[in-house]
């Protein structure tokens, strides 16, 4: 799915033609020609998409985790992402047709950190959160890691990536809240035994905030790090507006509001002050300057 080019780090703005649209359950998978983004991409990064067309009342771009890219070659490079219909912007995206153009900025954010070769890893995806984990799984496998994957969702309809994950890994664990696919329950139920079975040294996760927090706790209980890709409301996606901040403990022990668009979206779960998201804890750097 992805062959990594030398990362270029700089995001670009480009207009890309929609090459393909495919429905998976409740999701719509976009494949868009965007060679600049495809070339620079690394797993964990995201793309910001303008919605609504000319004369729209929707001013802000919508962010989507990159599911993978096909860098240029005989064909122009393409990128993929997967969306759920939520509000006005994603509904507009659901109405697009192949051949339509999209205005894109990417790749954005810091990618998943890559461990030394051979590090065993468990990947945990919730809903469309599985999408960015699949290219990461490929990358890990290419780097001789043993990889297990757990994917979950509320219902079978909201699972994403079951087939490509199986094709990649042979076998995966699936959970749904209602038992409509895989085992009934949460992704954190089978996580401890997966970590133990594999002797995993790292966990990667993407999904709803509550899930990421729980995954982080399981990882902590096993004394291994969890790298999680978060989803915060973002006005700019490029680091200039300060809307997307999370309270994160730095390596100096000091907690700060950090921008999840440029210092994330991937964070060490152990550093996020989950209980304080949505408030200003008194010991936060600069809290007394307010």
């Amino acid at each position: 799915m992805t062959e990594l080019a030398t990362p270029q780090y700089k995001p670009v703005q480009e207009t890309g033609e929609i090459f393909d649209l495919t429905r998976f359950g409740e999701y719509l998978q976009f494949t868009v020609v965007a060679p600049g983004i495809a070339e620079a991409y690394r797993p964990g990064q995201f793309v910001a998409v303008a919605v609504g067309g000319a004369d729209t009342s929707m001013l802000l771009r919508r962010s989507f985790a990159l599911y993978g890219v096909k860098p240029g070659g005989d064909y122009a490079g393409t990128i993929q992402f997967v969306i759920a219909a939520k509000g006005k912007g994603t509904r507009w995206l659901f109405d697009r047709r192949p051949g339509d153009s999209l205005d894109l900025v990417g790749p954005l954010g810091v990618p998943f950190p890559v461990p030394r070769n051979g590090t065993p890893a468990v990947l945990v995806g919730g809903g469309y959160g599985t999408a960015p984990l699949l290219p990461m799984a490929e990358l890990l496998i290419a780097a001789d890691s043993e990889v297990e994957m757990i994917i979950g969702a509320a219902t079978a309809d909201r699972l994403f990536g079951q087939l490509p994950a199986k094709r990649l890994l042979g076998k995966i664990t699936v959970t749904t809240d209602d038992g409509s696919a895989g085992q009934r329950g949460w992704v954190t139920d089978p996580l401890p035994s997966a970590i133990e079975r594999l002797g995993a040294e790292i966990v990667y996760a993407c999904g709803p905030m509550g899930m990421l927090r729980a995954v982080g706790e399981v990882a902590k209980a096993h004394a291994i790090p969890a790298q999680v890709a978060v989803e915060e409301s973002m006005a700019c996606g490029i680091g200039v507006c300060m809307t997307c901040v999370l309270p994160v403990r730095g390596s100096d022990g000091v907690s700060r509001f950090v921008r999840s668009c440029v210092e994330g979206p991937v964070f060490d779960a152990g550093r996020i002050r989950w209980a304080d998201v949505g408030s200003v804890p008194a010991d936060l750097f600069g809290a007394d300057g307010n």
Binding site: Q13, L59, C236, V240, C241, M242, V245, R256, G278, L284
Partner: protein
């Protein structure tokens, strides 16, 4: 109106500061330039206006900090920032190293803090000071300086005395007042070298899932094209009230046509804010679009267009007739 005009002189000035073109960023919408530097050379802009800085580091408000609204957005950042020392050491240095014209926006809880900021910046390599006396996001809403002519003029005269005399100071006003012309006159009398306007409008969204205000800060600042008619009106009124003062206009500028509206209403230069979130290269694009729009209308220079909408039809015709005569004379001279 003339139909062809190959080149338009885009130079402008904000008080004593000469700018290569009239398009700047807006405070709080470009951080300190570095991130936009990934998309274009910041030295090519009229200038970078930095996020309002305060004396001490400041965490800002709780999330959620934004909500999209029809043709606009609300924000309640609460002036998150690193404090003046870190700003000088890192941000200001980067801007200088990268050759940007630098407008530093300062904000304070009280007059003393504004004064101390001006002093800290006295010997720093900055081109202009924008004094943000209008941020409606700060908790003490009742205290917003720019809502009271007296409080506003007190800050401005104190900053004017404390700041490097070679650096012009611009007062940034809020539109959330009964009479913006009165505020403009009072800061002009207090020694402001120019006026930036407008800051955001105070607004609010109720989240229909939580049934509570959508923003952590409850209210927030409304920006974007939705507020453009209010901003153009403020520029028009303030240009009439203090015609001698240069104005830096902003509020919902997305295109060169939008920028031209502000210029015609009386602004010498414009800031592009929220549009950057949609299109990181918007300020650069707008320079070119503005040049084309001016050329299309037969203006010889940007400065000729400043405040042009205040002229009578006869005065407007006189301007274009004068240009035509000058052209004819030049052609005759060449023969």
């Amino acid at each position: 109106m003339r139909t062809t005009q190959p080149t338009v002189d885009l130079r402008t000035s904000l008080a004593s500061v000469q700018l290569a073109n009239p398009v700047l960023t807006a405070s709080g919408c470009a951080a300190a330039g570095k991130e936009l530097g990934q998309f274009f050379d910041v030295a090519d802009l009229g200038g970078i206006v930095t996020k309002s800085i305060m004396m001490r580091p400041r965490s800002g408000r709780a999330t959620p900090r934004m909500a999209e609204t029809p043709s606009g957005m609300l924000n309640s950042i609460g002036l998150q920032g690193p404090g003046i020392d870190s700003f000088i050491a890192n941000d200001l240095k980067w801007l200088k190293d990268n050759g940007a014209r630098t407008v530093v926006s300062i904000a304070g809880h009280n007059t003393d803090e504004f004064v101390n900021l001006a002093k800290r910046l006295y010997n720093q390599p900055i081109d202009l000071l924008e004094v943000n006396i209008s941020c409606p996001n700060v908790e003490s809403r009742g205290q917003v300086f720019a809502c009271d002519p007296l409080a506003a003029s007190r800050v401005i005269s104190a900053v004017r005395r404390a700041a490097n005399p070679n650096v012009p100071i611009f007062a940034k006003l809020t539109p959330d007042v009964t009479d913006i012309a009165a505020i403009a006159r009072s800061v002009a009398d207090a020694g402001a070298d120019g006026i930036s306007l407008i800051n955001t409008l105070l607004g609010m969204v109720i989240d229909l899932d939580t049934l509570r205000p959508a923003l952590g800060g409850i209210t927030g600042g409304l920006s974007g094209p939705a507020i453009r008619p209010v901003a153009v009106r403020c520029v028009w009124q303030v240009h009439q009230a203090v015609p001698h003062l240069p104005l830096l206009g902003m509020g919902g500028i997305k295109t060169g046509r939008d920028a031209l509206e502000f210029i015609l209403a009386g602004a010498c230069a414009v800031s592009v804010g929220t549009a950057v979130f949609h299109d990181p290269t918007a300020p650069m694009r707008i320079i070119g679009e503005l040049r084309d729009e001016l050329a299309l209308r037969g203006f010889a220079s940007l400065t000729d267009a400043v405040g042009f909408a205040h002229k009578s039809a006869a005065e407007q015709d006189g301007y274009f007739a004068g240009l035509a005569r000058a052209d004819a004379a030049a052609i005759a001279g060449e023969r």
